[in-house]
Symmetry: C2
Amino acid sequence: MQFYEDLVVGAVERFGRYEVTREEVLDFARKYDPQAFHLDDAAAARTHFGRLAASGWHTAAMTMAMLVAHWQGAGYRGLGSPGIDELRWLRPVYPGDVLSVEAELLMRRRSKTRPERGIIRSASRTLNQHGEVVMTMVSNGMVEVGDPAAPIGE
Amino acid sequence: MQFYEDLVVGAVERFGRYEVTREEVLDFARKYDPQAFHLDDAAAARTHFGRLAASGWHTAAMTMAMLVAHWQGAGYRGLGSPGIDELRWLRPVYPGDVLSVEAELLMRRRSKTRPERGIIRSASRTLNQHGEVVMTMVSNGMVEVGDPAAPIGE
């Protein structure tokens, strides 16, 4: 197990490999974002997307899948998230793309009201196979404190 | 069809009805957010969620489903979104909850570089069946301009 006190502010990590399939793009869009450019090749070709593109919320969900796998693989146990400060969809994501993540820890501090919880803020960039940034976000999260003497934060 | 020029800044609308099923909560979490409190009753009971809760990204996706249905029902054609300015998960969403949305148009203006596009910013609140706010977000979007003489924006 890893804990709040093991996190290093400023550390940058690269991880993840997510193959975007046409079937999954269509399935997500049908359920949650049934706009024509996420569902129909001909309609998408008439928009600035150029061709069938994944919902931005799908890109966020695929990014989350990579983040969770990374944290769990590293031995951290998350305690949920109060929210996202900024999320930007910078380029379309297409079926056939392979996504990965680069994340930097911006801040950590212990909760004032619940000192057994650490509060963290991190910036992530979601990249496609060409190294282009398709999405960025600044997210807040909570993580377990292992050592009661862990630093208050920075 | 409705266009940019039909949007009224300050208008508040309530819409949507989304029944959160246990099967869908588990399905989304398995694919995109496999943390214990989204997958396992006993594990969730040991956390501040109290019981099995939906992924926050799932709540965002369900909210998007209601937003898209509303816009499409009203006759607007979206052109995609550059991103979200702030997203907050305020309360857990549980299987059995019934969600709805309240949205306010905060700003509209025409794109300087592409005057055939309108840029809008709106604030939405996602509510459960008790009228409690479970999620808020401020989102940016683009919508078609119908009338070339439409106002620049406010």
